[in-house]
């Protein structure tokens, strides 16, 4: 079955690793999987987007209105993903903020959480906000906020089994696997509201 995710963020937040872990977990479950990273000069704090797809025949880019989930690792970046979400889709937003130059001088040039929440409410679509960096700090390192968001995504969608993700994290991140697995479960339980064993 086709499943499409558009993830947005900015350079340095780990969107490639996020996409890699997810698509490798999909592949391990026998699905076709691909992701395409739209980055530009992201190393310097620019916007990054990733189109993650599983299912039958897949081209790199997701069509507008075809994403089952849109997700952002940085709050305002979700705006770039809006055209892609299906009417019955899900929106997952990190509360992490990276305030750029012009917005720092003029705070009205950065949307508030309330504005974003209302935007999706008016469109009759559910937006979930996740304090991913706080959760990541608790899990052991703020840089695992991307994997916290992956945990939230898996809990929301069941697109892959949790065991597959944990196995992929173990195989592709040697010394940091433990802190990332912890971050994954913290993000997962933030959605399910259940402690894991």
């Amino acid at each position: 079955m086709e499943f499409n995710i558009v993830a947005a963020g900015i350079g340095g937040q780990g969107i490639v690793l996020f996409s890699e872990v997810l698509s490798k977990a999909m592949l391990a479950e026998g699905m076709n999987a691909s992701f395409y990273v739209h980055s530009g000069l992201a190393q310097l704090g620019g916007s990054v987007r990733s189109h993650i797809r599983s299912g039958g025949r897949i081209c790199p880019k997701i069509s507008h209105g075809c994403a089952d989930i849109i997700l952002s690792l940085e709050m305002a970046e979700i705006l770039h993903a809006v055209p892609y979400v299906k009417r019955e889709g899900t929106v997952i937003i990190s509360e992490a903020m990276r305030i750029p130059y012009h917005s720092a001088m003029d705070p009205s040039r950065y949307p508030t959480k309330e504005t974003l929440d209302k935007l999706f409410q008016d469109a009759r679509i559910k937006a979930v906000f996740i304090p991913s960096e706080d959760i990541a700090r608790n899990a052991g390192h703020v840089q695992t906020a991307n994997i916290v968001m992956l945990g939230a995504l898996v809990a929301t969608s069941n697109v892959v089994e949790t065991e597959s993700v944990v196995t992929v994290i173990g195989s592709c991140m040697d010394q940091n696997a433990q802190v990332n697995v912890e971050a994954f479960w913290k993000g997962y339980e933030f959605i399910t509201g259940q402690d894991y064993v």
């Binding site: 395409y36 081209c59 069509s63 507008h64 770039h80 999706f120």
Partner: protein, 627 residues
């Protein structure tokens, strides 16, 4: 991610990017030598092969021309060779590319070039497929990561079958697409270098030889047309509308056809040159309308038009010529659906998006491309502007030429100091031109260490020998940083023998050469004032390693004294506005230093007119080094 590249066996399915697929292809094909120059989107190939210690020689060249020169040497010695570059690099290499394509090759020679339709990274939006026509050499254009691997392997075989170089062309989107790839077998070739004298082939001495080489190149293209026939796939369904599509446009077309349950006559073009004329003709004979889908220029389409002109019943061609498909930008499945609706005469349904405020475009946050926190270049440009003010020069009216790489970010706010960005090393020659044209002095040239070695040295020689008064400012951060910290020839403890910039600059006759640490603001301002007023070509090297490459071990406790900071209301020009440092963030009406980001460079301490930013040595502590 690329741990599979070396070891994994044939048949295993992995997730590979287009670039990883090229690297794997080099290993499967038994390649001996890979060289090139960093340039997005093709950079990762050499990075991966080096990181994986792939058992073949992979190294960066000083520039793309030297890369293809060296690659040709390996090929003529009978060894399989791949050379990588971005489209702009192919322009630099083109002189040798055309000459080698005329001479032909011995060991398989594949030129992997990455185009950037839609300009995700900057530089001219050009279509490198024209080089295949210009050089009379075949070009393969894969459509997905699996094809990138398959075509890389095929390209080496094709190159050796016809005896000439073969282009492999990717695009930014394809190179950055990670998809499922089934690996092939690793072939181990036992190759030993040999070279036989053959003046007719390896020199350009005389009209007869050169015309014969032209004939030979054209013959190789004709051979390639027969050999590659099976790569171009014609599906005839009897539909009145046909589609011809190439590279990613084919992928998008397949998705649209499947979603809309359409089964049209279609041709997948995998060879940008030579175009599959026979199959194009066979498609045209069965349809009334044909849509041609390709990114950038109408190259396949021009062959379609020429084949249409030979027919009695001429189908109507839809594409770039009639303005339906744009020549600017790249394509997407949404665009392909829209364009396909035109010849079909029915609007193919789009998918219902959510209804949101029309204002959403205005809500998107503009992200200024600026220097990283603690970047030495920020200090350098800050000091340049200070020096100009001290000398009574208007920074807004003094011409400063810029160059490629991180240094060009001086063109953006808040510095707005670099006026031009053209090509690698161009800043010197352009500044010389401005001076000779009679522009008011000083005209200042700025460039990075990477561009200095790549193409600036002959231009500096030119400025010296024509006696210009030119300050040359080299911002040396020890690596080609923007493309991912490749070593230059000035990198300390790098992969190459180090020839420092100052040694080269003295050797080519600069009147004075000075090396200054840009974190020492006062000293840097004084050095600028001296070169801006001197006569002759004077080189100022501002040397400090790229901060993003260094692990931070110490937090020097830079913090804002809230009692002294007058805040946004009270400050003439806040540090946020003046420096655009990502580590200085707004805190209510005042500012604070984000300790997770701050690199303790001290520029804000130097800048703050109210002396509100201070070091707190009691806060000195060991940083948790990034994971």
């Amino acid at each position: 991610m690329s741990s599979h590249i070396l070891t994994d066996s044939s048949g295993k399915k992995v997730i590979f990017s287009g670039n990883e697929a090229v690297a794997r292809g080099c290993i499967e094909s038994g390649v001996s030598f890979v060289t090139g120059y960093p340039g997005t989107p093709t950079t990762p190939v050499i990075e991966i092969l080096n990181r994986e210690k792939a058992g073949l020689k992979a190294r960066w060249a000083i520039n793309e021309k030297v890369a293809i020169d060296t690659a040709a040497g390996h090929s003529w010695a009978g060894l399989r060779t791949l050379v990588t570059m971005k489209m702009s690099g192919l322009n630099v290499a083109s002189d040798t590319v055309l000459s080698v394509a005329a001479s032909g090759t011995v060991g398989g020679l594949v030129i992997y070039v990455g185009d950037d339709p839609n300009v995700y990274y900057g530089m001219v939006e050009q279509d490198s497929r024209y080089y295949a026509l210009l050089a009379s050499a075949p070009m393969l254009v894969p459509a997905n990561p699996q094809e990138v691997l398959d075509f890389t392997n095929y390209a080496f075989d094709l190159s050796e079958r016809i005896g000439g170089p073969v282009f492999l062309r990717s695009t930014t989107v394809l190179s950055n697409t990670y998809g499922r790839v089934a690996l092939g077998e690793i072939r181990r070739l036992r190759q030993k270098a040999y070279f036989t004298i053959d003046i007719d082939k390896y020199t350009k001495a005389g009209s007869i030889r050169c015309k014969q080489q032209h004939e030979d190149a054209l013959r190789r293209v004709r051979e390639a047309e027969d050999l590659t026939e099976d790569l171009n796939i014609l599906t005839k369904t009897g539909s009145k509308v046909g589609v011809i599509a190439s590279s990613l446009a084919w992928d998008y077309l397949e998705e649209v056809l499947e979603k809309h349950d359409l089964d049209l006559t279609r041709l997948k073009v995998s060879t940008a040159h030579p175009a599959p004329r026979g199959k194009i003709r066979r498609l045209l004979e069965t349809v009334e309308k044909v849509l041609v889908l390709e990114e950038l220029e109408p190259i396949i389409e021009s062959t379609v038009h020429s084949e249409v002109s030979r027919l009695e019943n001429r189908p109507l061609v839809f594409g770039k010529d009639d303005g339906l498909v744009p020549r600017v930008g790249d394509l997407s499945p949404d665009q392909v659906r829209e364009y396909l609706s035109v010849p079909l005469g029915v609007e193919l349904r789009s998918y219902p998006a959510i209804e949101v405020d029309d204002n959403i475009e205005a809500m998107k946050v503009q992200r200024l491309l600026t220097f990283c926190a603690g970047c030495p270049h920020r200090n350098s440009y800050y000091a340049l502007i200070e020096a100009m003010k001290d000398l009574g020069l208007d920074p807004g009216k003094t011409v400063v030429t810029g160059d490629i790489g991180c240094t060009i970010l001086g063109m953006n706010e808040p510095f707005n100091i670099c006026w031009t960005e053209v090509t690698m090393g161009n800043s010197i020659g352009l500044a010389t031109g401005f001076l000779e044209a009679g522009m008011k002095k000083p005209v200042v040239a700025t460039l990075g260490d990477g561009t200095f070695y790549h193409a600036a040295i002959p231009a500096i020689l030119d400025a010296v020998t024509t006696e210009q008064d030119l300050p040359v400012i080299i911002l040396d951060n020890n690596w080609a940083a923007m493309t991912g910290y490749q070593d230059t020839f000035g990198t300390i403890n790098g992969a190459n023998v180090r020839i420092p910039i100052e040694k080269v600059a003295k050797g080519i006759g600069a009147r004075s050469v000075k090396v200054v640490n840009p974190y020492r603001i006062g000293k840097t301002v004084r050095a600028f004032k001296s070169v801006l007023t001197a006569s002759g070509v004077n080189v100022l090297v501002l040397r400090a390693p790229c901060v993003a490459k260094q692990a931070r071990k110490w937090d020097l406790g830079v913090q804002v004294n809230k009692g002294r900071c007058p805040g946004f209301e009270g400050c003439d020009r806040t540090c946020i506005e003046a420096l655009a440092c990502p580590a200085i963030v707004r805190d209510g009406d005042q500012v604070k230093v984000a300790s997770e980001t701050c690199m303790s460079c001290g520029l804000c301490i130097h800048y703050c007119p109210d002396k509100a930013v201070q070091r707190n040595f009691f806060k000195l502590k060991r940083k948790s080094v990034g994971i």
